[in-house]
């Protein structure tokens, strides 16, 4: 399946990825090739097949709703790009 250049820009935007305009054509070609590869699946009849989410068909394990983790905020924020008063800073979102 071939993508057009606007679809590539839309997918990049959806993925929150800045892509140089000069590279759009290359992405268009490579992503289209990958989609051609995966389109082989459409020929397979899977109408009676249950999708497989876990190789051992395991179900989600549950645990008691109790506190198990300590608060390590200061430790984790040491590697953050920008923090203030225990918060992560980003450019202003609400004017």
């Amino acid at each position: 399946m071939a993508l057009d250049q606007q679809q590539v820009r839309d997918i990049a935007d959806l993925s929150r990825l800045q892509i140089d305009e000069a590279q759009i054509a290359e992405y268009q070609k490579n992503l289209s090739n990958i989609l051609d590869l995966v389109d082989q699946l459409s020929a397979v009849d899977t109408s009676a097949v249950e999708p497989m989410a876990h190789p051992l068909d395991a179900v989600q394990r549950l645990r008691a709703d109790v506190v198990t983790e300590e608060n390590n905020r200061d430790h984790f924020q040491q590697i953050a790009p920008q923090t203030e008063n225990g918060y992560y800073l980003v450019p202003r979102v609400v004017e």
């Binding site: 995966v38 190789p55 395991a58 984790f76 992560y88």
Partner: protein, 488 residues
């Protein structure tokens, strides 16, 4: 000291032949002198390694040593190591000092192992050649113009170059077995859920599994003994007893039934590759194994199914790399969207961006049934092929890769060319089965890998079969000519 196996070192340390500090210093010096050529390490943690080695020697002096006390090794840079740079081969994490240890790292630390550092890899484990690393390509010690395989290329090159006796690695579609095959080594990818994924940076969570690259099956068994086991911190880890994998290595394999999938011996697999694999099978027959042709009819669907499931899962997993809490952030973001888009656009390499985009597309509204659900259905068909096969045979064997190690740049123009490299390895991850690659011959002086596929949780039998092969042949003892390369 550098050509010793993990088992050798364990015996030597116990016998007092040398201390952990001595072998650690020896290997650190060797890394310093030669790794500029191979580029297998991203980080060498000299200080921590020497501290761990001293502690190990003290533990031994106090009479508290066991099998792993003081043994040097290294971790793929996908595993978080507390206080040590953990990059996953990406600019995105080029400043990420992990604030905690992965469970398997903790396991090795508790066992008394000495970590020499962190090993190079394809960016976020996406690649089959170690060419997508932000830290540069890794050279194959057998031929410096060739790739070591990927994504665990640094793990394989470091062991083949005799910088470490063994390394951790991870395998989502072949990332342990293919580099092990390309570098003449033993690679083990355990059953999905056998080893904790906690602290292993996620690529495709339903496929990722941690494992080992070593010279021998015996060493793989020793490493798996440390790594395997239940971990409440990984919700998909399986709570099941862990046997001593070294205890069954010497079992007889007489009567073992080996299945040979006809789809793995395709007409386009070169005669040379076929011959090496057939020779290995003949060796097994000499040891009393029986051979049976089987069919895995959905083999050709494994790569297409993988390239929906893995990108879809990676697009979700890598959304956490957003320039807010850790990792790379772009300069002077204008607004929040600019911060996300430029941090990710500048921080990720091209292959990672491609896979995120394929995944985002496959999961987008209106396409979910046609892509992700369809791939999960095909995945069950692929698993059913193996379930049926294991009703008839004990173990499945075939080539690990279609060719020996290829040259750098040979498969980078079209990503699909690179994807097809994993044709024999990828189905196991979709099925969640354990697999190994052991060196079984050479073509044009390059190693050829024999792949062994086991039933769920049958790592003991895989390691036993691999060990018996290595007791009867010497392919695993062959090493590249390192002298010429270290001088470069």
């Amino acid at each position: 000291m550098h050509n010793k196996t993990i088992a050798d070192i364990s015996r030597d340390l116990a016998a007092g032949e040398y201390s952990s500090v001595e072998i650690t210093e020896n290997l650190l010096t060797r890394i310093k002198n030669t790794d500029a050529h191979y580029n297998s390490f991203i980080t060498v943690s000299e200080e921590q390694a020497l501290a761990q080695a001293k502690a190990a020697d003290a533990r031994r002096a106090a009479g508290n040593a066991d099998a792993w006390t003081g043994i040097p090794m290294a971790h793929k840079d996908i595993f978080c190591t507390n206080g040590v740079l953990t990059t996953c081969g990406s600019k995105m994490l080029s400043n990420f000092i992990a604030p905690y240890d992965a469970t398997i790292v903790e396991n090795f630390n508790n066992a008394g192992a000495v970590s020499l550092g962190k090993l190079n890899m394809d960016e976020f484990a996406m690649g089959s050649s170690n060419e997508s690393s932000f830290y540069g390509a890794v050279k194959n010690p057998w031929d410096g113009e060739r790739v070591p395989g990927g994504s665990s290329g640094g793990s394989a090159a470091a062991v083949a170059a005799q910088l470490v006796p063994g390394a951790t690695a991870s395998d989502t579609g072949g990332s342990i077995r293919q580099p092990a095959a390309f570098c003449g080594l033993t690679g083990l990818k355990p059953t999905y859920g056998r080893v904790s994924r906690w602290g292993m940076i996620a690529y495709a969570s339903s496929l990722d599994q941690a494992g080992t690259i070593t010279r021998t099956a015996e060493d793989s068994a020793m490493m798996l003994n440390v790594m395997a086991g239940f971990d409440a911190k990984d919700s998909t880890c399986v709570d099941r007893e862990v046997p001593d994998y070294t205890a069954t290595l010497n079992n007889s394999i007489a009567g073992l039934t080996i299945g040979l999938p006809k789809e793995y011996f395709r007409s386009d697999l070169s005669a040379d590759m076929q011959q090496q694999v057939r020779n290995a099978i003949a060796e097994y027959e000499k040891m009393g194994a029986k051979v049976k042709e089987i069919s895995l009819p959905n083999t050709h669907l494994a790569i297409p199914a993988y390239y929906i499931i893995a990108p879809a899962e990676c697009s979700a997993n890598l959304s956490r790399m957003d320039g807010v809490r850790f990792g790379y952030r772009c300069e002077n973001p204008q607004d929040i969207n600019d911060l996300y888009k430029r941090s990710r656009g500048e921080g990720f390499g091209i292959e990672v961006k491609r896979r995120i985009m394929v995944g985002a597309y496959a999961l987008s509204a209106g396409f979910y049934d046609a892509y992700y659900k369809k791939a999960q259905q095909v995945r069950r068909l692929i698993r059913n092929d193996f379930v049926n096969a294991f009703n008839e045979v004990d173990i499945i064997m075939g080539p690990t890769t279609p060719t020996p190690a290829f040259k750098r740049g040979e498969k980078t123009a079209d990503p699909v060319d690179m994807y097809l490299e994993d044709i024999f390895t990828i189905a196991l991850n979709l099925a969640g089965l354990p697999g190994m690659s052991i060196s079984c011959g050479q073509v044009n002086n390059l190693p050829v890998g024999l792949q062994l596929i086991g039933n769920y949780f049958d790592e003991g039998r895989l390691l036993n079969a691999a060990h018996q092969f290595q007791q009867h042949t010497d392919w695993h003892l062959k090493t590249p000519d390192l002298k010429n390369q270290a001088d470069i």
